[in-house]
Symmetry: none
Subunit: 247 residues, 2 copies
């Protein structure tokens, strides 16, 4: 599988399909997006490989969305150049993270784009199981469609459709002024996480060993939740380095 991406970060959000299963659903998602003018799709480790003939057949007139889609072996690579990441999920999670409606999330994405930020990403999980906690840990916020508590049956393409609709709907709305801080990229935050983890490993922080994976995930989740600026990432690198320095 070769990485490929013609969907560099822009003012419009990219839709990231994480480990999608059925080609038909990928094609339907492409159609859903293009209805509302979204062309930036990224596909992470699709079950049936890439390109996917069933996806192409289903996409029909939206084939160009698939042709330009970025293909990535893992979610980290897919989000490397994204400033702001939203995880769509129906279930409530134990992860500490803001939970936004599609409306609120797209309003935020619109305001960030208006302020010059680039690279908002919306994550959609595999059809059957949805996003895993490790996926969600990479997001700045969770997006939940406020459905009937007694009945939930949105499929992948419908979920993409509603988010794309919200993006389009809010183009007509005047953006609110936001503080134009420069946010760190996901890549920068990931490297900070690596650095911190490495130093904490050396300091025997992750004990008992059985709890280490959970502790590490919580750490990444915490960094993601803060929506760090570039300056803060640099400051934190410095703090970690200096604290860990042995005389």
């Amino acid at each position: 599988m070769i990485d490929r991406d013609e969907t560099g970060p822009g003012p419009a959000p990219v839709m990231v399909l994480v480990r999608p299963q059925m080609g038909e659903n990928i094609g339907a998602a492409a159609r859903a997006m293009l209805n509302f003018g979204l062309g930036g799709m990224r596909v992470v480790a699709p079950r049936d490989g890439w390109p996917n003939p069933k996806a192409v057949a289903m996409a029909s007139g939206a084939g160009r969305v698939l042709e330009g889609a970025g293909l990535f072996p893992d979610l980290g690579a897919a989000l490397a150049d994204c400033d702001r990441v939203y995880a769509t999920t129906a279930r409530s999670r134990e992860l500490v993270k803001p939970v936004l409606s599609p409306e609120a999330a797209m309003a935020e994405a619109r305001d960030l784009a208006a302020a010059g930020a680039r690279g908002a990403a919306f994550l959609f999980g595999p059809e059957r199981a949805g996003l895993e906690n490790d996926d969600i840990a990479r997001a700045n916020a969770i997006v939940t469609v406020p459905v009937n508590p007694d009945f939930y049956s949105l499929n992948l393409a419908q979920c993409v459709l509603l988010l794309a609709y919200e993006w389009q709907r809010q183009q007509a709305v005047a953006p609110a002024p936001v503080i134009a801080a420069e946010f760190a990229s996901q890549d920068d935050v990931a490297r900070l996480g690596d650095h911190l983890e490495e130093r904490l490993e050396a300091a025997a922080f992750f004990l008992p060993p059985a709890k280490a994976p959970m502790m590490k995930r919580n750490l990444r989740n915490m960094l993601a939740r803060w929506t760090l600026t570039r300056t803060e990432v640099q400051t934190l690198h410095g703090i970690v380095r200096q604290l860990a320095r042995r005389p």
Copy 2:
């Protein structure tokens, strides 16, 4: 075909499928509606009769929407008790009629319901050809989903889904972002700042001395900006302690 209707006019709009063709699409429309709490469906002269086993199979958990659906031989009968009728159509028509977005139409329906009116109806045409001019002539207004002018591929259930979503969206007072965690008090954050500062002072971080006051202020500002939870404050205390530990 016998008229049957358990969907008398109420504050929520009824979704009227006009001469629908595929049972699967009727079932999918029922699911789409119920996701957003709409239960009032009316079916006008369905091509394959009624009840429709394929519709029932597709509706799955939303079967009760089909069971309660009103069946009508023609559109006039279906709209007899409706106060306000909206025709969904993608194409521009020569008919002189207001053209509303889903948002504007549902806002109007909501305001009418709040004012005590009952019986708003949204019409959806047959899959292939859409509503005919005679159908549209019965409507007070046209609703057009503002799709990409170069690409339109919404199917019946998706169109119903977007309208149902808009109804639901406008019921809710814009929900504020929620965080499912307990935030740390200002006091807790201040103590964390003291701890961090003390350890960094010991590690000769605040250099040159002339810049120390500004560096300390930036540090406090950063901690304040993150809106830390209690758990995160504890975690950070642990990280700082462990990193600074001398063997």
